[in-house]
Symmetry: C2
Subunit: 467 residues, 2 copies
């Protein structure tokens, strides 16, 4: 009996220590009180002053900011000035060469020689990086294909034709990013896959949750060993139309004209500013977004909003006079959309720097109402962040879970302990993503400002608590 009891006692002791261990991870009452009070100040200032929202309005007035464009340089200069005006430390521009592609002024897809639809013009836009057509365009039959599997099956019928990838975004996913991941390959790899089978052009149904007629563009790739063919996105409604038209009249022909052009790489810059830490100034917490955008709309959500949130993290800390142990670094990366040159360049810098990069946060999923953070890090690191949830919950952060960090911070790899993505509500993002719908008017001030407060709180906790 005594032996059994001793055994049970050992179990109790272990239980005790494991409970003790769990409690040790919690924030002390004193700290919790401090952070909760600071959270109220940050949230209140962010929601009342709407400073970031007004800055985003200014940024959007510059217009779209595709890498290599004049606008992108204007935006870089604007950002540098705003950081200096705000009194941030060590504002600098990190040089980096970026791709330079321009849409041109001719984008036309017209149905021709048709019994029913001659002259019907489809609402299309060239995918980023597409080659142009000859001046008179290419004229070819359109074949509707739903998947890469079907493309293979239809291999013999594709030659000389324009492939129309028609499958819509799957609406079933609560997380629209899952729907997007499933659909995006046809946009990014469609030209390569179709060309393998002899196609002369590609039309992709826009990847969107909104059933309007705006083309949603985005990056696409070519292979050096496979003929390059022009590639466009069509509006959702015109994609429906085209699908019906082909059913009624198989062998339907389209004349497709594009005069987009790729120029030599252009000089560009990441924009960087610090708030120096008081105790560990050489340890860095990054908050970031990307300043470049696609050339339709003005990149209000993608990712002007994310940049401005990063900016306002520093601004909030500064205007509320909150000192941080570690240095908080704001980075506006350039060229996320078609090359990630900015992210790669900064990662090189980080690798060779004597600074210690603790963590990097990126906001690049729209500036909608907060839901959580997704963390690319060891489970033990993510575990360590859980006790912060009661504080973050004040700004509507419900979870910190394993997941993707962000495209621009991805290349920091093991040089940071955690790459963290801000996760706003995802229901509306793909309504506007990469389209003319992505304008300032689609940003809600309270949603954006609450997100800013959430990111500020996480930044503060990372700086003060470490990982």
């Amino acid at each position: 009996l005594i032996n059994r009891i001793s055994g049970i006692l050992v179990v109790i002791v272990i239980l005790f220590f494991s409970i003790f261990d769990i409690q040790a991870q919690k924030l002390s009452d004193e700290k919790l009180k401090y952070y909760n009070q600071i959270a109220d100040e940050i949230i209140s200032s962010s929601l009342n002053e709407r400073k970031g929202y007004e800055l985003l309005r200014e940024l959007c007035e510059i217009g779209p900011r595709l890498s290599g464009s004049e606008n992108s340089l204007k935006a870089i200069s604007w950002a540098e000035n705003k950081m200096k005006d705000a009194g941030f430390d060590s504002v600098w521009l990190q040089p980096v060469m970026v791709p330079h592609w321009e849409r041109g002024d001719v984008e036309k897809a017209v149905i021709i020689e048709s019994k029913y639809f001659t002259g019907k013009e489809l609402n299309i836009a060239a995918l980023g990086g597409s080659i142009a057509t000859p001046p008179n365009g290419i004229t070819a039959e359109v074949i509707e294909i739903r998947s890469f599997e079907e493309l293979k099956e239809q291999s013999e019928n594709v030659k000389g034709k324009i492939v129309f990838f028609s499958q819509p975004f799957d609406q079933s996913f609560v997380n629209t990013f899952s729907g997007y991941s499933n659909a995006v390959k046809k946009r990014s790899e469609g030209a390569i896959e179709a060309s393998k089978h002899g196609a002369v052009g590609v039309i992709v149904r826009s990847i969107t949750t909104k059933f309007d007629n705006q083309p949603h563009v985005g990056g696409m790739r070519y292979s050096d060993t496979i003929p390059k063919i022009p590639s466009v996105a069509a509006g959702y409604l015109d994609s429906d139309f085209l699908s019906e038209a082909i059913k009624k009249e198989p062998g339907l022909k389209i004349n497709l004209k594009l005069n987009c052009q790729t120029f030599p790489d252009a000089q560009s810059y990441n924009v960087i500013a610090d708030l120096k830490g008081t105790e560990k100034p050489d340890e860095i917490v990054i908050v970031s977004g990307h300043l470049d955008s696609w050339d339709l709309g003005c990149g209000a959500h993608d990712d002007g909003g994310g940049c401005i949130q990063a900016f306002e993290v520093l601004d909030l800390l500064k205007r509320l006079d909150i000192k941080t142990k570690r240095t908080i670094r704001c980075i506006f990366y350039i060229n996320e959309e078609n090359g990630v040159r900015g992210g790669i360049e900064y990662a090189k810098y980080a690798e060779n720097s004597s600074e210690i990069h603790l963590a990097a946060i990126e906001s690049d999923r729209g500036v909608f109402t907060p839901r959580g953070f997704t963390v690319d890090a060891d489970s033990s690191i993510i575990e360590k962040m859980q006790p912060w949830l009661p504080v973050l919950n004040k700004a509507q952060i419900n979870h910190i879970i394993k997941g993707y960090g962000g495209v621009d911070i991805y290349y920091l790899r093991d040089n940071v302990k955690a790459k963290i993505g801000y996760e706003p509500d995802a229901q509306r993002y793909f309504d506007l993503h990469h389209s003319a719908n992505d304008v300032f008017e689609e940003v809600h001030p309270r949603e954006m400002q609450l997100g800013t407060a959430a990111i500020t709180l996480l930044t503060l906790l990372l700086s003060e608590e470490g990982l």
Copy 2:
């Protein structure tokens, strides 16, 4: 030693049982699997088919649905037909007399006899229930007052004047309903309080999170013992303007004209339908919203959307052939906005019925993306619902917490075990609440449909698991 060990063993046994107790409340693996699978089906059907969203479009085409209006009767008839078409059980109209107030066609507030602003017309709308002015209006000085405390202090200066309650909605609250509660008294009680001090009219700054110029109306009260004075809401921007104008020119005069009118109470109806339970048909789970709306906009979020969500709970269960143990009852209440007569009438019915009302859910805070449920019930009941969270989380429900149920279900009092309010994200609701902004175009299909899925899941869990 043995005694101590025995003591410790008792503690272990207690710990053991309490752990066992906690686990007993959890859903079994088998049940969890069942509910998770059904959750996927419900969410997928709701997001893909957008049936409720399209029904809401139809409802909104009828126009605003203020109690007693012709439109409200059209909407009642439309709803009854839709419930019958959907094949619900025992569709019926519960008669109830409702207030009948009409805005009329004259609403004008003009600055007169001013050095700077003569002729400037303010964007105003009569508050629901306001009396009219004489045909030539009332002309009086305007005095700006921020709070009821200031009203008392300024008592001597208020006599014969129009009181302008100018204090804006406090934007600091993450939960905008807290901001609203703080502000709403000036709208609902302002006429009584101002009249006590001899005021002849009231202008209230619109209670809104959007800084546009739409008047946001809503209910207001009179007292039988205090003179009734006309009462209007002014647009946010014109409230700013008026505030500045009074600063520049104290003693500024306004001529205010209204020809709104209160008619005798009108015949109206709650619209009710069931999905009969298979095992306990006499036990009821209510899902509900209110069909009446204010007369600006078309009550898309408030509360056409909530009604249609309740409708689609039954429709989803039916179209996916999910049988429930208990009866699921959909109620479209009438007259939430200015009388709650529908809610009170149904509560009387419930009190005298042999049916057992288990729980009532109301969706009446807009049809935005889901966040949680707030429950007006004993803590032990709310505790019992916690194990359902992993299932509800699939539709983005993050919490089930103590809180308000809903205006229409409030009067069920102790006749239900739980009165439950659907809690969507609240950042955008007061942009449109009670104003011309509350139109179908402001409803996002995925947000609404995800909310519908969440409410359907909770309804199912209530029916199958009980409370």
